[in-house]
C-alpha cells in the first residue's frame, strides 16, 4: 500500500529514538541497496503503468514517443465513462451513508458501558477483517437467496456500505479514545443538553476522523473489485470491473491511462485522510 511510505516516515519522526550513528543507512552501502530494491519493487510497476499511459504505441513493450491520445480516447469510451460514473455515484453514496453509520458505531463503541453487550457494537468491525472473497460470496447468497434482490447498483451500494462502516468506526473511535472523557461531562454540567454536547463538543473534535473515514470509504469503494464482482450482476459495471473486462482482451494503453487516473485519485484521497488522522491509519493498518 502506498500509504506505508508516508506513515513510516512520520513514525520514525516522532516515536523512535534516533539510531546510533553506525546504523544510519548512509554508512552501510548494502542497506542502501536493499532499501532501493524494496522501493523499486513497490513503485516500478506503478511507474511503468503511468509511463506507458503516455506512450505513443499500442504495445506495452517499448517507448516510442509522448502522447495524450489514450486519455483522449478514454473521454470518448462510452462504456468506460458509464462505469466511471457508476463508480463515483456508488462511492459517494456508500461513503456518505457508511460515514454516518460508522460514526455512530464508533461513538457507541467508545462510550458503551462495561457489560455483556460490550462486544455488540464491535461487530461492525468484522467485515474489515473478513476475506473479501468470503464477503462477496456471502453477500451474493444473501441478496439472491434470502432477499431475492435483483443485482445491480443497489446491491453494490449495500455491499460497499457494509464493508466501509467498520473502517469509519475504527477511525472515529480511535479519535475519541485519545480524549479526556470528562470534557463531555463538563459540557453537560455547564448547561448543554446531550444533543448540544454532541453538536458543540463531540462533533467538532471528531470531525477530522469523520472526514478521514469518509475519504477512506470513498477510496475503498471506488477501487473495490472482488466484492463488487460478486454482487454486480449483469449489465452494471464499475470502473474496476470495466478495467478487468478490458484487459481480458489485451492490455491496451487505454487501461494504463485509466489506471493512472484512478491511482492519482486514490493517492490524493489517502494522503488527505492520513493528514487528517495521522495516528489512526497507522493503528488500523
Amino acid at each position: 500500500m502506498p500509504l506505508g511510505a508516508g506513515s513510516d516516515k512520520s513514525a520514525a519522526g516522532d516515536r523512535r529514538p534516533s539510531p546510533a550513528p553506525s546504523a544510519r543507512p548512509g554508512r552501510i552501502p548494502w542497506l542502501w541497496l536493499a532499501s532501493l530494491a524494496v522501493y523499486a519493487f513497490l513503485y516500478v510497476p506503478l511507474a511503468v503503468v503511468v509511463l506507458f499511459s503516455f506512450n505513443d504505441s499500442l504495445l506495452n513493450a517499448q517507448w516510442v514517443g509522448f502522447t495524450t491520445r489514450w486519455y483522449d480516447k478514454l473521454l470518448h469510451d462510452e462504456a468506460l465513462l458509464g462505469a466511471a460514473a457508476n463508480s463515483v455515484l456508488i462511492a459517494l453514496t456508500s461513503a456518505s451513508i457508511a460515514t454516518v453509520l460508522g460514526t455512530m458505531a464508533g461513538i457507541t463503541m467508545q462510550r458503551w458501558p462495561v457489560g455483556v453487550l460490550r462486544a455488540l457494537p464491535g461487530l461492525v468491525l468484522t467485515p474489515v477483517a473478513m476475506p473479501e472473497i468470503l464477503l462477496g460470496v456471502s453477500l451474493l447468497i444473501f441478496f439472491r437467496q434470502v432477499l431475492d434482490l435483483t443485482l445491480g447498483l443497489f446491491s453494490i451500494l449495500i455491499a460497499h456500505i457494509s464493508f466501509s462502516i467498520g473502517f469509519v468506526a475504527i477511525i472515529v473511535r480511535a479519535r475519541l479514545a485519545g480524549m479526556d472523557e470528562s470534557i463531555f461531562e463538563a459540557a453537560r454540567d455547564l448547561g448543554a443538553s446531550p444533543w448540544r454536547t454532541f453538536r458543540h463538543i463531540t462533533l467538532p473534535l471528531i470531525l477530522p476522523g469523520i472526514i478521514a473515514g469518509f475519504l477512506m470509504s470513498f477510496t475503498l469503494s471506488i477501487d473495490d473489485f472482488v466484492i463488487t464482482f460478486f454482487v454486480a450482476g449483469v449489465g452494471v459495471s464499475t470502473l474496476p470491473l470495466q478495467i478487468y473486462s478490458m484487459i481480458k482482451v489485451a492490455v491496451s494503453p487505454e487501461v494504463n491511462a485509466v489506471s493512472t487516473l484512478l491511482m492519482a485519485l486514490t493517492l490524493t484521497l489517502i494522503t488527505l485522510a492520513s493528514r487528517l488522522a495521522p495516528d489512526l491509519l497507522r493503528r488500523s493498518a
Binding site: 470528562s182 463538563a186 459540557a187 453537560r188 454540567d189 455547564l190 448547561g191 448543554a192 463538543i201 467538532p204
Partner: protein
C-alpha cells in the same frame, strides 16, 4: 434553610458501598470540603450532586427542592473537574463563555460577564489563547472562571489542585479562598489532602468507606477528632492505649498501660467516657515537650524515655522517643532557638510531657 441537603444518601456499586447513609447540610456561602482517602465515596457524592449519578436511596435537596430526575444541564450546579476538562478546540474566551451561550444569554451580557470574569481570575490577556498554550495554573483558572461565570448556586470542585506542583498549589489555595469570598458562591470541595482541607475550608466532612466520620470546622476536626480514623487521617497523631480510671468534674484519670496515670481535661464539646472504659489517648506531636532537663517534669503528665531518632526539617525537628513501656511517640519542636536540634542525640535519656488540656480520649 441549608442550600444543599443530603438526606440518608446510599449508593452501591455491586458489593461496594460508595455512600452509606450519608446526611449532610451545606449552608449558603460556605466553603465546604469532603475529605477522605481515595475510594471513600467523596467523588460519588459529588457526581450525585452534579447529576451524573443518582442515589439508590435517600434524597438530595437544593434550596429545599428535590434534585432527583433533573439532568446535569438543568441543575444550577457547576463542576471544576480534576483534569480541568477544558474544551481543546475552543479559546479561553469561548470556554469561559460556554455556560452563558448554552443558557442563551444575549451577546452584550456575555461580553460584559466574560470581561468581568476573566478579570476576576487574571486572565484578561489570555482570552484568545487555546488550552494547550496555557500553564497548569492558568488552565485551573480558566476552569474556575468557566464554572463561576453563570453564577451557579453551587460550585463543585473535584480535587482541582491535585495536578499542580507544591508552590503553585499554595498560591492557588490562597486565590481560591479569596475568590470564594469575593463571589460569595457556595463551594463544595473534594480532596484527599488534609492540608488543603484544613487551609481552605470553613467546614470539613471527613469520609471513610462511604460514611461521614465527622463534620466540623478545621480546628474541631484537628483538635477534637471524634474517632481513631479521623485522628489518624488528619495530620500525625500519637496514640497511647489507656483505661479510664475515673471521670469527674470534667477531668479524666487515665491509666497508660505499663507506664502510670495521667490526667486529662478534655475539650468541652466532647462527651466524657465512663470509668472502666478502654480506648486510646491521642496527642498531636506539637503538643509534646521533650527535654533532658527538669523543665518538663513540672507538667503533671510526663514520662521518661529514650530518644531514638531525629528528623531535621528546617523549620521544625521531629523527634521519635521510645517510652519506657516501649510505646513510640513522635514530638515536633520548632527550631526557633538556634542550634536547638543539636541539643539531643539518639540514645539520650529524655523526658516527654504535655499539658492537662492537650490530647483527647478516643473510644475503641
Amino acid at each position: 434553610m441549608p442550600i444543599l441537603e443530603l438526606r440518608r444518601i446510599t449508593r452501591c456499586f455491586g458489593p461496594l458501598k460508595a455512600a452509606d447513609d450519608v446526611s449532610l447540610s451545606i449552608e449558603a456561602g460556605e466553603f465546604f470540603t469532603l475529605l477522605g482517602p481515595s475510594g471513600c465515596g467523596k467523588t460519588t457524592l459529588l457526581r450525585m450532586i452534579a447529576g451524573f449519578d443518582e442515589p439508590d436511596a435517600g434524597e438530595l435537596l437544593l434550596d429545599g427542592r428535590p434534585l432527583s430526575g433533573i439532568p446535569p444541564e438543568k441543575r444550577p450546579v457547576h463542576t471544576v473537574f480534576q483534569s480541568y476538562a477544558l474544551f481543546p478546540h475552543m479559546s479561553v474566551a469561548q470556554n469561559v463563555a460556554f455556560p452563558l451561550r448554552m443558557a442563551g444569554k444575549p451577546e452584550a451580557e456575555i461580553r460584559r460577564l466574560l470581561a468581568e470574569t476573566l478579570e476576576l481570575v487574571h486572565l484578561s490577556d489570555k482570552a484568545r489563547h487555546f488550552p494547550h498554550e496555557l500553564s497548569g495554573g492558568q488552565k485551573q483558572r480558566v476552569a474556575l472562571a468557566r464554572g463561576l461565570i453563570n453564577k451557579p448556586r453551587l460550585l463543585l470542585l473535584d480535587e482541582p489542585l491535585g495536578a499542580l506542583d507544591a508552590k503553585l498549589r499554595e498560591q492557588m489555595e490562597r486565590e481560591l479562598v479569596a475568590l470564594q469570598r469575593e463571589v460569595g458562591i457556595t463551594f463544595v470541595f473534594v480532596t484527599h489532602s488534609q492540608q488543603e482541607a484544613l487551609a481552605l475550608s470553613q467546614r470539613i466532612a471527613v469520609m471513610n468507606e462511604g460514611r461521614v466520620e465527622q463534620v466540623g470546622s478545621p480546628e474541631q476536626i484537628y483538635r477534637i477528632p471524634r474517632n481513631r480514623f479521623v485522628a489518624d487521617f488528619i495530620g500525625t497523631i500519637n496514640l497511647l492505649p489507656v483505661e479510664v480510671l475515673a471521670a469527674t468534674h470534667g477531668r479524666l484519670h487515665l491509666r497508660v498501660a505499663g507506664l502510670g496515670e495521667i490526667i486529662a481535661v478534655p475539650p468541652g464539646e466532647s462527651a466524657l467516657p465512663v470509668a472502666g472504659e478502654h480506648g486510646h489517648f491521642a496527642l498531636r506531636p506539637e503538643q509534646l515537650r521533650v527535654s533532658t532537663h527538669g523543665e518538663v517534669r513540672e507538667l503533671h503528665n510526663h514520662f521518661s524515655g529514650t530518644l531514638r531518632d531525629t528528623l531535621y526539617r528546617g523549620d521544625v525537628t521531629v523527634y521519635k522517643v521510645e517510652l519506657d513501656n516501649g510505646v513510640m511517640l513522635e514530638a515536633l519542636l520548632t527550631n526557633s532557638a538556634p542550634l536547638r536540634a543539636k541539643s539531643f542525640a539518639p540514645g539520650d535519656a529524655v523526658t516527654v510531657g504535655w499539658r492537662h488540656d492537650s490530647g483527647v480520649f478516643l473510644h475503641d
